[in-house]
């Protein structure tokens, strides 16, 4: 149904039955009961039904069920962490998950990278007219499950519907609120000369899984998105090493390279990576070869990059190894005071090369 897969968009059947009722301006076509309609976003009966039948049963909690114009929540402390992200992935479903997983994990993980405990989420949906409700259900199920796992509740939300062709199926925005820990405040400016650069798992899986799911490139690969909640890893790191954790970053769009460039720039340090240490799974490497991509720039959704004081590096690795999604955590490099802002990769042959920020999306290199 979506344009993303390149399939032609279906037009609804003609002979639409119209319900004549004062105040109802939107026709309700018979036989369209299985798809999102413009009416679902108009605030009337269809909207209410959608909320009642699909959203509330999954996210139901006292705050949400108040259905006030705004949610009232309690967050201890003078400062709170707030993060927002919009999710526009195409296709909506891919090996390893769907947009719903990303929408929860992405925002929860951003809070966790600040050392915050995620508490509440908002969820705003822009749905495309014609989106199959069964797909919406699968996305909402994913969000419900991911929220439960992360220990957050969805306290408020919104749903709009736009015309066919205007939303690639659906867009989701989630905003998260978290409670900060005064004793655990990793941040991008804290990296120092000599710190260890650690990555919690294999790199490049999400981006490759998405690209494989896109029809136009037409390759098959047994790579699943790594989308995951990183809160347990962060908790383990905090418990094991606390203040020795200088920075945490989840390397999503732009990959590990972009995350490290940002830290290097913010902290005014250089970063040196060892090519041989990078944990790139075989199929990810093969897919990158084929498309001429560099795994360092491919998106991830279930790993973190940690900058850790040198003396606690082993302890941090052990903490990560104790959790299933951190089992293959590895040190990939070191922070240095030399050439601040520059990320260098030492190749297997000896010389180093620059690992820069990319201007835009990596395009498959062909020739």
């Amino acid at each position: 149904m979506t344009k993303a897969g390149g399939a032609p968009v279906q037009e609804p059947a003609d002979g639409v039955s119209r319900i004549a009722s004062a105040g109802l301006t939107c026709p309700v076509p018979a036989g369209e009961a299985d798809r999102v309609l413009l009416g679902h976003g108009s605030g009337g009966k269809l909207s209410a039904a959608l909320l009642r039948e699909r959203f509330l049963p999954r996210f139901g909690n006292d705050v949400l069920e108040e259905l006030g114009d705004a949610a009232v929540v309690n967050v201890p402390g003078d400062e709170i962490a707030v993060s927002t992200d919009s999710f526009v992935v195409s296709p909506l479903e891919f090996p390893g998950g769907n947009i719903g997983h990303l929408a929860v994990h992405g925002t929860v993980n951003d809070l966790a990278m600040m050392g915050a405990e995620p508490l509440y989420l908002t969820a705003g949906f822009i749905l495309e007219e014609g989106l199959p409700l069964a797909l919406l259900d699968r996305v909402l199920d994913a969000m419900k499950e991911s929220a439960r796992e992360a220990g957050v509740i969805v306290v408020t939300g919104d749903t709009k519907v736009v015309e066919r062709g205007k939303a690639d199926g659906m867009f989701i925005n989630t905003t998260g609120i978290g409670q900060l820990d005064p004793d655990f405040r990793p941040g991008p400016t804290r990296a120092r000369d000599g710190d260890a650069v650690i990555v919690s798992g294999p790199i490049g899986r999400h981006g490759v899984a998405i690209m494989a799911a896109r029809e136009d490139l037409r390759f098959e690969v047994e790579v699943r998105s790594d989308t995951a909640c990183l809160v347990p890893l962060v908790q383990a790191l905090s418990a094991a090493c606390g203040p020795a954790i200088r920075s945490l970053r989840d390397p999503t769009r732009g990959g590990v390279a972009s995350a490290l460039n940002e830290i290097a720039a913010s902290s005014g340090v250089g970063i040196r990576l060892e090519e041989g240490s990078l944990p790139v799974p075989g199929p990810v490497r093969a897919a990158c070869e084929m498309l001429g991509l560099d795994p360092l720039y491919v998106a991830n959704e279930g790993i973190l990059v940690a900058i850790v004081a040198q003396e606690e590096a082993m302890s941090a690795l052990q903490a990560l190894h104790s959790h299933p999604i951190g089992a293959s955590a590895v040190r990939i490099g070191t922070v240095t005071a030399e050439r601040p802002g520059l990320v260098l990769l030492r190749t297997g042959l000896g010389p180093s090369r620059v690992v820069d920020m990319l201007p835009g999306d990596q395009l498959p290199r062909i020739c």
Partner: protein, 370 residues
């Protein structure tokens, strides 16, 4: 990955470097004419390992970089047409035309799609009979068989809404042009391994004889390139000037004959302009008359194209190996991958982009990355 990873073995690579350093009695100047080889050389820091024994000059081996500005502008024009689905290899999307690039055209509403194979473009045409699908057929001889097949199949299958915008160039005339230049310093060439997989190496023998230059058909991985360089340096030291084949696991002297046959049936040799270099006679491929219904230049009224190229861009000198990218005053200043002045800074196999992305060691004062 088999037949790939072994050729990245650091031990073998270092061994070859030592052999090269030990064999060259004076600094040798070599040229590779293949964007893929340029990419490996810069990305793996091979020049650094070779120190002063070998100076690798990067030749015009990036078909994206040498595609004339007029052709890019034609592509942009086609992509802007509402009835057209414009398909292309990924590299072409950010190459600057006179006023925009394909990515910007897409942002303005044009339908531009990246495909991995020309056959995928043909499939898009079959799936969308109500639209005109144009494929940007760019490449050296390596890609010609694939592009030829897409046109051949279109005719076989009776597809009428498919056409190609051709920008094919061939390597031997470029090597000849380099050798003919009065200030040429190149003593030996690495020939592109996949071009020769298709074409074989027969066409290079007259060049080796006439100009007395060693030519070594070489692969793309670090061990391949170092071995190719070693073979070339040995020839120079021994006073030989022959065509040798380093990439024997893929290349035979006669090349791939079925591929050559189909290319010859669909395409013919034409004169072609190389962006930054100028016109080189009989250096390009164009569709034969009988396939003109698949020629986008004939099918669509492309009008007259007035091109405008930034004067400061020194792509021509870079492509001819006259200067290294960092010797251009605009390198890293007015010209970066975000705001490229010319194609070699955009294409991932362009020499300027390779240097910028991998080897941009600027003095602290000259500007660190943003």
């Amino acid at each position: 990955m088999k037949y790939l990873s072994e050729y990245r073995d650091p031990v073998l690579a270092r061994s070859l470097v030592d052999r090269i350093l030990g064999t060259a009695t004076r600094p040798r100047v070599l040229m590779e004419v293949c964007g893929g080889q340029t990419h490996t050389i810069v990305r793996q820091g091979l020049q650094e390992l070779l120190k002063d024994a070998v100076d690798m000059i990067h030749g015009p081996g990036c078909p994206v970089c040498v595609t004339p500005l007029e052709q890019i502008d034609r592509a942009l024009h086609l992509a802007s047409r509402p009835e057209v689905i414009f398909t292309s290899f990924g590299d072409m999307l950010r190459v600057p035309g006179s006023d925009a690039d394909l990515l910007q055209i897409r942002a303005r509403g044009g339908e531009v799609r990246v495909v991995y194979s020309p056959l995928d473009a043909l499939e898009i045409a079959r799936a969308h009979p109500d639209r005109e699908v144009v494929f940007f057929a760019v490449g050296f001889e390596t890609t010609a068989p694939a592009n030829a097949m897409s046109v051949w199949r279109a005719r076989e299958l009776g597809v009428t809404n498919f056409s190609v915008l051709v920008s094919h160039v061939t390597v031997p005339p470029a090597i000849r042009a380099i050798l003919d230049a009065p200030d040429n310093r190149v003593e030996a060439f690495l020939a592109a391994g996949h071009v020769c997989t298709v074409m074989g190496w027969r066409e290079y023998e007259p060049l080796a004889d006439e100009y007395a230059v060693p030519i070594v058909v070489t692969g793309f991985e670090p061990v391949d390139i170092l071995e190719g360089i070693y073979m070339a340096v040995r020839q120079l030291e021994e006073g030989r000037a022959e065509v040798e084949n380093q990439y024997a696991r893929s290349v035979r002297r006669s090349g791939n004959e079925p591929a050559q046959e189909l290319v010859a049936r669909v395409f013919q040799l034409v004169d072609r302009a190389w962006r930054g270099i100028g016109e080189i006679p009989s250096s390009g491929l164009g569709l034969r008359e009988e396939f003109s219904q698949f020629d986008a230049e004939k099918k669509f009224d492309l009008g007259s194209i007035r091109t405008s190229e930034p004067e400061e861009c020194m792509a021509g000198d870079v492509l001819r190996g006259r200067i290294k990218p960092f010797e251009c005053p605009e390198f890293g200043a007015a010209c970066t991958p975000e705001r490229p002045l010319g194609a070699p800074m955009v294409s991932s196999e362009g020499a300027c982009a390779a240097y910028y992305n991998y080897a941009r060691f600027q003095p602290e004062e000259a500007g660190e990355p943003a």
